[in-house]
């Protein structure tokens, strides 16, 4: 039976549909690229702004944005302003690769920076070398990036895991002794860190034992009892994130801090800030430190960061800053944006003091493209005076000493024909 309907009547469904279409248009319309008058030089940055590395990734972005402002104040790159495009890799390899392609294919960036997650950084490097784009890895630490997987277009600002391990190991052997116990998370990263520590210890004639701890363990008493029974001089804590905090807290609660030293590679300022005083102990490496009396430009940088974030500059701030500055300074020096030419010029390039912000002039080593940045070995403690004064640098180790010879990195640099 037919239902009579006025021809102009608008039913509920049509209203809903058009509503949805209008809503969709709101999302898609900014997608259309608008014409731009001035053509800036674009730098693409991919970092895990969401997920477990969010805090440190965002600090890298702060540093990178600050660097971009500074460069634009001084006339940009080749007289053109620079524009920093930041993309979230969501701590997922597929997304990171996708964003890298987006930046290169659609946004036509001249340079790529990223990622904090080493796995994503390596996958990104495959894309950037395929597309022949200069790529600075700001904060992914695993050795292969400038080792077995090294590439002509990839340069790294942060240290390799081996550099951090070498620097702290030598200090711990000198200060405390050669009998060590490892608390190692049971997965690839943990195993590789432990292996590089053991190599150094063995060559110094030391002995060690280890506990492999599953990720996410809340209770370390069983492992700490084993460690105590072994009575080592040093407990190497390779745990990361929440595991690091829990194990350090329990280490102090068990009173082991009076019987042995504790230490490891990284305990970043972001992590120290996030833990209670009880876990602010041990010997660690910092890859950059805000309090370097007598070193030029460091205080200015720290003050600028403090103005933005409200607290002292972290190593991550500096990674982002140094990555962008490196690209600008080399492009301005060579007066080109051609990736192979710039890569050749960067190999062996020494960072000027206003970018290096540390003693000496670290260089991007020609053999593996790793920045020979100073490793600041020191001791963590509850705040003294300044709220961010939670680490005291005891012995800065020069980067080339920590890195060892190029041959050991396993990098065989292949240049495009």
């Amino acid at each position: 039976m037919p239902i009579s309907r006025r021809s102009w009547s608008v039913d509920r469904r049509t209203i809903l549909k058009s509503g949805a279409l209008i809503a969709a248009a709101q999302i898609t319309s900014p997608f259309v690229i608008r014409a731009r008058g001035e053509t800036p030089i674009r730098i693409g940055m991919v970092d895990p702004l969401t997920g477990v590395y969010a805090a440190i990734a965002q600090n890298e972005v702060v540093g990178a944005k600050y660097a971009a402002e500074e460069i634009n104040k001084k006339g940009g790159i080749l007289g053109r302003p620079i524009e920093l495009l930041v993309e979230d890799s969501a701590n997922d390899v597929g997304t990171g690769v996708q964003k890298t392609r987006k930046l290169i294919d659609r946004d036509q960036v001249s340079f790529i920076i990223g990622d904090v997650n080493s796995g994503i950084a390596i996958a990104m490097a495959q894309v950037t070398s395929e597309k022949k784009v200069l790529h600075v890895v700001s904060g992914g630490h695993t050795d292969p990036i400038t080792g077995t997987s090294c590439s002509w277009n990839v340069f790294r600002v942060c240290n390799s895991t081996a550099m951090d391990a070498n620097a702290i190991a030598t200090t711990l052997i000198e200060k405390f002794g050669k009998k060590w116990y490892f608390l190692t998370p049971d997965y690839a990263y943990g195993h590789s860190v432990q292996a590089s520590f053991e190599k150094i210890l063995k060559s110094a004639g030391g002995t060690s034992a280890a506990s492999l701890v599953p990720l996410g363990t809340p209770d370390y008493s069983a492992y700490l009892i084993q460690a105590k029974a072994y009575s080592p001089q040093v407990l190497i804590n390779v745990m990361g994130g929440g595991d690091q905090v829990a194990s350090l807290k329990q280490f102090v609660q068990f009173g082991l801090d009076k019987q042995m030293a504790v230490g490891g590679t990284l305990f970043e300022l972001e992590s120290i800030r996030a833990v209670p005083d009880g876990a602010r102990v041990g010997w660690w490496t910092m890859e950059w430190w805000w309090d370097q009396p007598g070193v030029p430009h460091v205080a200015e940088f720290n003050a600028a960061m403090k103005k933005i974030t409200g607290s002292a500059a972290t190593a991550r701030n500096w990674f982002g800053y140094a990555s962008v500055q490196t690209l600008a300074v080399i492009a301005n020096q060579e007066k080109t944006l051609d990736a192979p030419k710039l890569a050749h010029a960067l190999a062996g390039f020494k960072l000027p003091p206003e970018i290096a912000l540390q003693p000496g002039a670290p260089e991007y080593r020609a053999g593996d493209h790793e920045l020979m940045s100073t490793v600041f070995v020191g001791e963590a403690h509850p705040p003294q005076g300044d709220a961010d004064n939670m680490f005291t640098v005891k012995s800065p180790v020069p980067g080339d000493k920590a890195a060892g010879p190029v041959e050991e990195s396993g990098c065989k640099m292949q240049w495009p024909a």
């Binding site: 392609r101 987006k102 990263y189």
Partner: protein, 314 residues
């Protein structure tokens, strides 16, 4: 209504075939379209089970990830051949699914979902821990998709993004055609009967367990195939691809797009991927918006976005 269906089908394929040409002016890029296809195929494979057999698997990322590892390991160690890698990935995902499916299909409802999560996480941890084979947390790398030799000419899918898109599109078409044929067959009709009323189907003498197992296995093969394609897209395979949070994304795509319709999950995947791609450039809180959209869809359009746009037949 037959002609209307045909028009829709032609429209879908026209949009897909011309994607490299209309995406760029709209601010998209070809690699994004490739990703939509691959994740769309994965969501459709999941929906083969969820929407047409009526059982919810929350661990389908396992078969997806296994497909990726299968393809990656083949390219890295066995043979530098893209078709062989796709085949190996599909077989690895499908066969593992077939074997474990015999245990999984004994459960229903929330228990089915939980068992699939559990088996999925088993594979996740295997990939995570077996560093010497899978590269562990750093992922499997050191392989790349290979140009395809067609005798007459060489299809350079490695460096030419458009060629690769069309390669993925043809793989997608093959898989979707197979899926469509299965759903139209008596077996497909039986699956829908089980979805609508399992007890009644049992009384009609249909061996329910065996049918669900076959549907599950087929779905795993499709999933493995999608995973193998995903490894080719990234030239990389990592444990996250097997994680249950990835399974959750697939379920979200299927439900958002419309799990009772054949093409719904593809639309869901497109919305999910494009929204993620666009919003995450604008704000770090992009997940809130995707989540909000999901909640809105579930609350107001239980038949999904596609179901909403399709006029009810009554």
């Amino acid at each position: 209504m037959q002609s209307r269906k045909l028009i829709v089908l032609v429209a879908i394929w026209a949009v897909l075939l011309l994607a490299p040409y209309w995406m760029a002016p709209l601010g998209g890029y070809t690699a994004l379209a490739t990703r939509v296809l691959v994740l769309g195929l994965a969501a459709m494979s999941l929906n083969f089970l969820l929407g047409f057999t009526g059982v919810l698997s929350f661990g389908h990322a396992a078969w997806f990830g296994l497909g990726a590892y299968g393809a990656g390991l083949t390219l890295k160690h066995l043979a530098t051949s893209t078709p062989l890698a796709l085949l190996a990935g599909m077989l690895l995902g499908g066969l593992c699914g077939a074997i474990l499916g015999t245990l999984i299909v004994r459960r229903r409802g929330v228990y089915f979902a939980m068992v699939t999560i559990a088996f999925g996480q088993v594979f996740y941890y295997i990939a995570f821990q077996w560093s010497s084979l899978t590269g562990g947390d750093d992922g499997l790398r050191g392989f790349a998709r290979q140009p395809i030799d067609l005798g007459v000419f060489r299809l350079d899918i490695l460096t030419d993004a458009t060629a690769f898109y069309y390669f993925v599109l043809s793989c997608f078409a093959l898989a979707v055609a197979a899926m469509g044929f299965i759903l139209r067959s008596p077996f497909g009709r039986t699956m829908i009967a089980i979805r609508e009323n399992e007890r009644r189907s049992r009384f009609l003498g249909i061996p329910i367990e065996r049918h669900i197992w076959i549907a599950f296995t087929l779905s795993c093969f499709f999933m493995g195939f999608a995973g193998a394609l995903y490894a080719l897209v990234n030239n990389f395979a990592d444990p996250h691809g097997l994680h249950y949070s990835q399974s959750g994304d697939f379920v979200m795509m299927a439900v958002m797009g419309g799990m009772r319709s054949f093409w719904g999950p593809l639309l869901g995947a497109a919305v999910f991927v494009v929204l993620q791609d666009y919003l995450s450039s604008v704000t770090v809180n992009w997940m809130s918006f995707v989540g909000l959209l999901f909640i809105l869809v579930v609350l107001f359009f239980p038949r999904g976005l596609l179901g909403f746009f399709q006029r009810s037949r009554a």
